[in-house]
């Protein structure tokens, strides 16, 4: 039995009413993983001990008739960039192949406190750098919908685990699109909350002003449930916002009639696949039928988003990854004669090609003589891109776009052309730069039966509106995963 037919509510209710047990759900998860993961490769580490402890705890509560926490008994996967105490955490890299964190990230701790049963650590692009999950030191992940194709990245393992029915929900991270794009490619729901909505404490940092943690699920309601469990101020993350967490689930059923939905022409230009365009336009028509008002808007600086992102993100990454030096944890080369040799060879052998490429780019744009032309310039363009959204959101409540220009491509298609890979992020990076929330939901399929994703972007801290629109569309279209 795969867990695909389960929602968070149906799983938890079944455990509460004792028609099943948390242990039994966890066993189903492991059975599916055993059967499919040889091909899919969604998991790097399974944490059976921790799984069984938590499942047992939940089952004892149910046996005693105690009300279970909101996600009680629900099997989940955690992208391997979030620290899990006592459970190996690799960030998809050789340089952390033996790293066992002594603490839990806040998002993980909160998810577990809400009753979720962590089954394992999901495979991902190394240090979250990639759009196809082909950059992992633990092998590529394959798309469960078509195993010759990529699941997207960098949260490819999280998306695949949900799509394959190995878990009911997963946590991913998004810096340039890494939750939304794999959700789109795998036909599941992926939510990137507002920057600062979810604590980054314990998230292995890629780009600190762009990193976000968020859920991948089979439905919008499940995304709302996970968000409610993990969101909120955390004193351990000074960038986490002092903004109250609404009851996202209660907000879901509110009517969407009269909401103004922006359609930005810059997201429907050259490079957008015809089948994707048709599918997204049909989705927009559906929203119009739900009595939303469709408003044309313009986000004029959109074409500068990808270069801006790759300057800012790589610069921040070059700084964040400086800590991987073989001294305190992780991989260290043997027989280095000097400290300098140890640093240099450890990093060259421990990091994969894409990571090294980005570290080099980031170091270059921050170096003396180039800082103004690149990094400072990109920070100013970032302000312009954010201003585009501020202006648009004066006129509309949400903006809909395709999540990606294409459906999932084949493994190996883009590995030799880094720039082509970067351009796949074109519709997702803008939200990361502006810090606004975005959700990707399934809205159709190509002729080859590959999933297509619809993206809904919202105002800062207005996840409630984008969840509401997404839920209304999901219900009306019958398109859940």
């Amino acid at each position: 039995m795969t867990l695909q037919k389960l929602t968070i509510d149906s799983a938890r209710d079944a455990v509460q009413q004792r028609t099943t047990t948390a242990m039994s759900l966890a066993e189903s998860a492991y059975e599916t993983i055993q059967k499919e993961d040889g091909t899919i490769n969604a998991f790097v580490t399974l944490c059976k001990e921790r799984t069984l402890e938590q499942a047992d705890r939940i089952d004892r509560m149910a046996a005693e008739g105690k009300p279970l926490p909101r996600l009680g008994g629900v099997p989940v996967a955690i992208k391997d960039v979030m620290c899990t105490r006592g459970v190996r955490t690799t960030a998809g890299s050789k340089i952390l192949s033996n790293f066992i964190p002594p603490y839990d990230s806040t998002a993980v701790a909160r998810l577990e406190a809400a009753g979720a049963v962590i089954v394992g650590k999901a495979n991902c692009d190394e240090f979250a750098m990639g759009s196809s999950n082909e950059n992992s030191a633990y092998g590529p992940v394959r798309n469960p919908r078509d195993t010759s194709r990529v699941p997207g990245g960098s949260s490819g393992g999280s998306a695949a685990a949900v799509a394959a029915g190995m878990v009911v929900a997963a946590l991913g991270s998004d810096t340039g699109g890494s939750i939304r794009q794999p959700a789109s490619f795998c036909g599941v729901t992926g939510l990137m909350p507002t920057y600062g909505r979810v604590s980054r404490y314990g998230l292995i940092a890629f780009a600190s002003s762009l990193d976000h943690i968020g859920p991948l699920t089979n439905s919008v309601k499940d995304a709302a449930l996970v968000l409610r469990a993990i969101a909120g101020r955390d004193p351990m993350d000074s960038t986490s916002a002092e903004v109250p967490v609404p009851d996202y689930v209660a907000e879901l059923e509110k009517p969407v009639r009269g909401l103004k939905i922006g359609v930005a022409k810059e997201y429907f230009g050259e490079g957008l696949d015809e089948e994707v365009r048709k599918s997204v336009e049909a989705a927009i028509e559906k929203l119009a039928k739900l009595e939303c008002e469709i408003v044309p808007v313009s986000l004029p600086h959109t074409k500068y988003a990808v270069p801006t992102y790759y300057v800012v993100a790589t610069a921040e990454a070059s700084s964040n990854l400086a800590r991987y030096d073989g001294v305190r944890y992780g991989f260290r080369v043997k027989q280095a004669r000097t400290l300098s040799e140890m640093y240099r060879r450890t990093r060259d052998e421990g990091f994969g090609a894409e990571v090294k490429r980005r570290i080099m780019l980031g170091t270059y744009v921050l170096s003396a003589g180039y800082y103004d032309a690149y990094y400072l310039k990109a920070q100013k363009v970032r302000a312009l891109l954010t201003r585009d959204f501020d202006e648009a959101f004066k006129e509309v409540d949400a903006i809909v776009t395709p999540t990606c220009p294409t459906a999932a491509f084949r493994l190996g298609d883009k590995v030799n052309d880094p720039l082509a890979m970067y351009l796949a992020d074109i519709y997702t990076v803008t939200a990361d730069l502006a810090g606004i929330p975005g959700i990707s939901i399934p809205c159709g399929e190509t002729e080859e039966k590959l999933p297509i994703g619809l993206q809904i972007l919202g105002k800062h801290f207005d996840e409630a509106t984008i969840l509401r629109v997404a839920h209304a569309y999901e219900t009306a279209s019958g398109h859940s995963s």
């Binding site: 300057v311 992780g330 090294k356 570290i359 270059y364 920070q379 100013k380 954010t386 720039l419």
Partner: protein
Amino acid sequence: MKVSESDVRYVADLANLELTEEERAHLQRDLNSILTYMDSLAELNTDKVAPMAQVSDRYGVDESKQGSQRFSYAAREDIVEGLRKSLPHDEALANAPEADENFFKVPKVIER
């Protein structure tokens, strides 16, 4: 922007990466093509635009205050173990590639 081989060596030094000759060649090519693409940012006039380093100073900042007081929401009391207990020694050293009871061990720092 033309990136030379010596540029690649210099940046690799800054980044503490011992690149092989093959890696240097590939990186030189990649850096050139990616940086050329990034040059498009120069098309924009940003003379009157303040740089945006992060999103988070839009929320929580107390505009009525001055200097670092504006970020008081992100600060905590300056007390020992105010937020949580420190890691015990053995846990902190548990992941070390080489350590003794107290220190991380590394190759000689000062060469004589």
